[in-house]
């Protein structure tokens, strides 16, 4: 959160990750598994790494941590090829080494006990939502719900969910198998007509579910979101409409990712007026009502 008092971030480690896998999925997506034990151990939901994709590129690239195994010491990153850096990353082979800094950033503030976390992820904004879900499932009283959206095929094979969610159009049953394994109800959305998915925006899917909750149940909801800016704006609207707390994870171009250059700022409303906050170390997670 933007309030540094909430979660003190761990120290950032300068290390070299070894590529354990770099698997291609439809739509130019890749899942990169890196052996990086210190970073795996310290990551919190919302943390990202700053990765040197290729030696000839001056700047590193910020990428979120999607999953981690603290025992085996790896982290997973889901990325989409959009330019030179991510294209170079897609060329990396198993066994190669990649310099990286991490974990970086303030994670999501923990929701109060008894609240209902609703996680909304769009495209390559899904990763922080998955890491958050993997942590929340350790505390069964939370009962999180996920809504994931993508305009390219999902980087996993969707299957019908074992868990009921009310208020959705008939046939909206597809989920991510891993979330079913974790016992977390989830649904998928896309405008591409993928089988079992909600036909439309992920925020409309979330709205349909939130709308059918009774007032008391809805007031316990905490929204968390990561994805493209228009989606985050729509989530912020949703939060405002239902009067719900909402945390969003933002993106901006970065040079240092250490807090030194002030290159990565967003304008945030504060009690004393507008302020420029650094996405890398003041974020990447912010209270949605202060940015949108």
């Amino acid at each position: 959160m933007s309030d540094p008092a909430t979660v003190a971030p761990p120290k950032i480690v300068e290390s070299v990750g070894v590529v354990l896998a770099n698997d291609a999925y439809a739509g130019g997506q890749y899942i990169l598994r890196l052996q990086a034990p210190e970073i795996a151990a310290r990551a919190v939901p919302g943390s990202f790494v700053h990765l040197r994709c290729a030696p000839e590129l001056p700047l590193r690239r910020p990428l979120s941590i999607m999953l981690r195994d603290q025992t085996k010491g790896w982290i997973d990153i889901l990325y989409k090829v959009v330019g030179r850096g991510t294209a170079a990353l897609a060329e990396r082979q198993v066994g190669q080494q990649l310099p990286l800094l991490g974990p970086i950033g303030n994670g999501f503030s923990p929701a109060p006990r008894g609240s209902r976390p609703v996680l909304i992820g769009g495209g390559v904004g899904m990763p922080p939502m998955l890491l958050l879900a993997s942590e929340l499932r350790r505390e069964p009283h939370f009962r999180p719900v996920l809504f994931l959206g993508s305009e390219v095929p999902f980087p996993f094979a969707p299957k019908p969910s074992e868990f009921m969610l009310d208020g959705l159009p008939p046939g909206v049953l597809a989920t991510m198998p891993l979330l079913d394994d974790w016992g977390i109800p989830a649904r998928l959305a896309s405008g591409q007509g993928f089988a079992g998915c909600f036909d439309g925006l992920v925020t409309d899917l979330a709205r349909a579910w939130l709308a059918q909750l009774d007032e008391t149940a809805r007031q316990s909801v905490h929204l968390y979101a990561c994805g493209p800016t228009p989606m985050l704006r729509a989530v912020a609207e949703l939060a405002r409409g239902f009067d719900l707390p909402c945390q969003v994870s933002l993106e901006e171009h970065m040079a240092c990712a250490i807090g030194g250059c002030a290159g990565c700022v967003v304008q945030v409303a504060t009690p004393t007026g507008p302020a420029m906050k650094r996405v890398c170390v003041d974020g990447p997670v912010f209270d949605a009502s202060t940015v949108f």
């Binding site: 950032i12 700047l59 171009h253 240092c256 030194g260 420029m276």
Partner: protein, 313 residues
């Protein structure tokens, strides 16, 4: 440090530096940011220059503020800072002056503003002040002070009048005769020179046909500017050595070899800015490389290297 009795300590304008490396303004925030990185220590550097500071707080420019370019990057941060009073009362007390020297970076839109910021830093524990004269002069058509020797000298003279702490003038490469500017700044009372600040540049997004950077233009830094910076250091050194004025050479340093090039060209200390973004632990690595070079060439002190360039006749 200190392998086999050799050490990298130098004296710069009467200040003891642990090493000739100086962390550059705008790359390390207000001093403590890099301590977030495990293994990073201010003891590995001679000095740390704080972000450009103005009289009043500034929000800075809209995003995007940075863009990667071939061999470097453009930045247009727009001097985001909380204003000199906040820096003096809230930030300086949090810095550990036993670890390294801290240098303020004085910025402004008028000569009077530079002078007032200098005056307020003079009354603070800061070790030295660097005059960032690359800012636009709002009273005289927005031309950067640093691109005009007359305006540069006026800034230096005004600030010299209000402090006895070391004054370092940071010269702009975006001008015709940097050596002449250096001469004027020295005569106006500058104790040292920083050479060079960023080169102005632009990057274009060919799909939107807009500049990538919110401010349209920005300062180019990183390895792409190193050859320009080396020549400027060499040119300024010809003037500065006659007055015994030391230079902090900078622009694109990422390795010990780069740092050595600057020392040989005429620098007494070497700045590291964008290179930290490549490798936040670069200072310790560069110190080690410099030390190995000194040993290999059987040099007792760094000063023997400064300006030791052997020009082709």
């Amino acid at each position: 440090m200190g392998s086999e009795g050799l050490e990298l300590k130098i004296e710069f304008c009467g200040l003891g530096f642990n090493s000739p490396l100086v962390l550059l303004s705008g790359c390390v925030g207000f001093g403590n940011e890099y301590t977030r990185v495990e293994g990073f220590s201010h003891r590995d550097v001679g000095a740390v220059c704080l972000k450009g500071t103005t009289l009043e707080p500034r929000l800075g420019n809209p995003p995007h503020r940075i863009a990667e370019t071939e061999g470097g990057m453009l930045n247009a941060i727009g001097l985001q800072n909380p204003g000199v009073d906040h820096v003096v009362s809230e930030i300086l007390p949090g810095l550990d002056f036993s670890e390294t020297r801290f240098i303020a970076n004085v910025s402004g839109s008028t000569v009077e503003e530079y002078q007032e910021v200098t005056r307020r830093f003079d009354d603070s524990p800061i070790d030295a002040m660097e005059l960032n004269i690359s800012c636009p002069n709002v009273k005289e058509g927005g031309v950067a002070f640093g691109n005009d020797p007359e305006m540069s000298a006026r800034v230096v003279e005004a600030c010299r009048g209000v402090t006895r702490k070391p004054l370092i003038t940071k010269l702009s490469p975006n001008q015709t005769d940097i050596a002449e500017n250096a001469r004027r700044c020295i005569e106006a009372g500058s104790d040292a020179l920083a050479v060079i600040n960023t080169l102005m540049g632009m990057a274009v997004d060919i799909e939107s046909r807009q500049p990538v950077i919110g401010n349209n233009q920005g300062g180019l830094s990183g390895p792409a500017i190193k050859p320009v910076a080396l020549l400027k250091v060499h040119q300024v050194y010809q003037v500065a050595k006659r007055h015994g004025i030391p230079i902090i050479g900078q622009g694109g340093v990422t390795s010990a070899e780069d740092a050595l090039e600057f020392l040989i060209a005429g620098a007494s200390a070497v700045g590291l800015g964008t290179g930290l973004f490549y490798d936040p632990l670069a200072p310790a690595r560069i110190n080690l490389g410099i030390m190995e070079y000194l040993q290999r060439h059987q040099l007792g002190t760094l000063a023997e290297l400064t300006g030791s360039l052997r020009l082709h006749q």
